[in-house]
Amino acid sequence: MREITLSQAVNEAIAEEMRRDPTVFIMGEDVAEAGTPFKVLSGLVEEFGTARVIDTPISEPGFVGLAVGAAMTGARPIVDLMFGDFIYLVMDQLCNQAAKQHYMSGGKLSVPMVLRTNMGATRRSAAQHSQSLQALVAHIPGLKVAMPSSAYEAKGLMKTAIRDNNPVVIFEDKLMYQDKAPVPEEEYLIPFGVANIKRTGTDITFIATSSMVQVAEKAADILAKEGISAEVIDPRTIVPLDEATLIESVRKTSRAIVIDEGHQSYGVTAEIASRLNEKAFYHLDAPVLRMGAMDVPVPFSPALEDVTVPTPETVAANARRLCAGEMIDAA
């Protein structure tokens, strides 16, 4: 099968959906001729024109608000939010407006929009361009949240998001745009709420999101050499969450580490760990461990930044101790 980058996968998904459905359009800062700073959207304006690939002013609440209104009245906007950190700027439009319209109107209005943005530290971008803020939006009923872990997921989840009748936030890891993965030529969609078992194992389950899937897989490689068999599961969407697959795995392995690049406290890892405790408690041989980013603003210095996020080595070390029955002082 051919291999393409995550960036190309996103581009293909959007182009295919724009060809299929004339109500789909994309807007954001520097999305047209510039194709975004990460060049993810290069070429779209040439095919679809500036009417459907719209460069906006640097007005995040304004253009997210426009997307909500366009979605409520019959279009399917995709909004490009250049950095995930800018979500703080659009919280009212996303969480008070987009997320609640369907419910507040008793089901009469809906907001079929996609907000695509990014996450991920270790790009030396410092505290306001490195955050992974998926927990903020996953907390809000009415929003769906997708976290692709490779080019394959990025394409299939994006196409599903565009066709979904709800506001969907997609977090792409900005360090993975150039990562290649096998992606079929023929059309496919990845349904929301269906986890992907990346690797089967018997001793411990790693539940990991986005680029943390790679981290978990590398940790599993390390552990395999030591005779520890780790299962790696990628939920793919954290809202909706495929709880059944996660619980089934943990009932089998009896140990779990949940890994997500958001801050550890009050985060995605906490939510998933809590559900496992509630629903698989009597199958557990060890506490479910959370591994997130440290609870510090992301520092600039490489010497500091690199220690703020989970790595294959730290995941493997924690797994080793859990499997040995040691207690871990979690952050």
């Binding site: 304004g62 979605a71 409520m72 019959g74 279009a75 008070n96 369907h102 009469k108």
Partner: protein, 325 residues
Amino acid sequence: MAKTKTNTEDYLRMYRQMVRIRTFEDNANQLYLSAQMPGLTHMYSGEEAVAVGICEALTDNDRITSTHRGHGHCVAKGANFKEMFCELLGKEEGYCRGKGGSMHIADQSHGNLGANAIVGGSMGIATGSALRAKLLGQNDVTVCFFGDGATAQGLLYEVMNMAALWDLPVIYACENNGYSEYTKTEEIAAGSITARAEAFGIEAFKVDGQDVLAVNELTQTLVARCRKGEGPFFIELETYRYHGHHVGDINREYYRSKDEEKDWKENRDPIVRFRGWLVDQGIATEDEIEAMNAEIEADATQAVAYAEAAKYPDVSEVDMHVYAD
């Protein structure tokens, strides 16, 4: 009063709609005072000529976005009393099945995209609706209602900039009732409000919001121009709210005087003025108007009684409509 070329039927419908709003609000206020209504509500009384003058220049296909003070817009855009009172009381037959209430009432069938409890919160939605119209080649116009208080929100300037850049068919209707919640507007708004729109190259107008014909005539012109691709536009409507910020804001002399309220009610009431004009012009007699008023009052009484007796939504609905299928 300004002259327009509308016919008798149009005039009578405008009068009727203004009285319907006032009557709706009088009944809603009564529901609050008698502790029949959950929560609070914000009265539109006094501002009827704004909603009616504007909405009478629109079709069902044209969209509006409304505000926390939104009952007037909802009625003027064509909503029924029964579903509105049901919504205010949180009943299953309400426009939003009781999930929205006064501050989120929406009536999709008449193009009302909903009230909004965040001041200025719907400015993006209105502008986005206009963007959709342009993108999909549809010729409807969207009116964005908001108050003078909302002119302090940065969102307004972001979306006006984009509307002007892209010639969107949207009309920003600023209902200036003189008060930003419990504060005089002159204490929160520097300079001129219309000049802010003009800074983006948007044609801006100031009109007497107590004169329904003046409002309607201007809006008809601007809607027609929007349909030709000449939008956006901005209107500042000078008006007055008779009640406090909300129904519970009773003792308000610390921010505005009773004399001022009396002056607006006695000398500038939009319904009294229009009624006088209708009689002067021989369009309706006093008897005909009294009969119309009585009919509207009876309609409201009946709708309130219906809503009071109506069912609450079943508890099983609590987690319905979080996500669309």
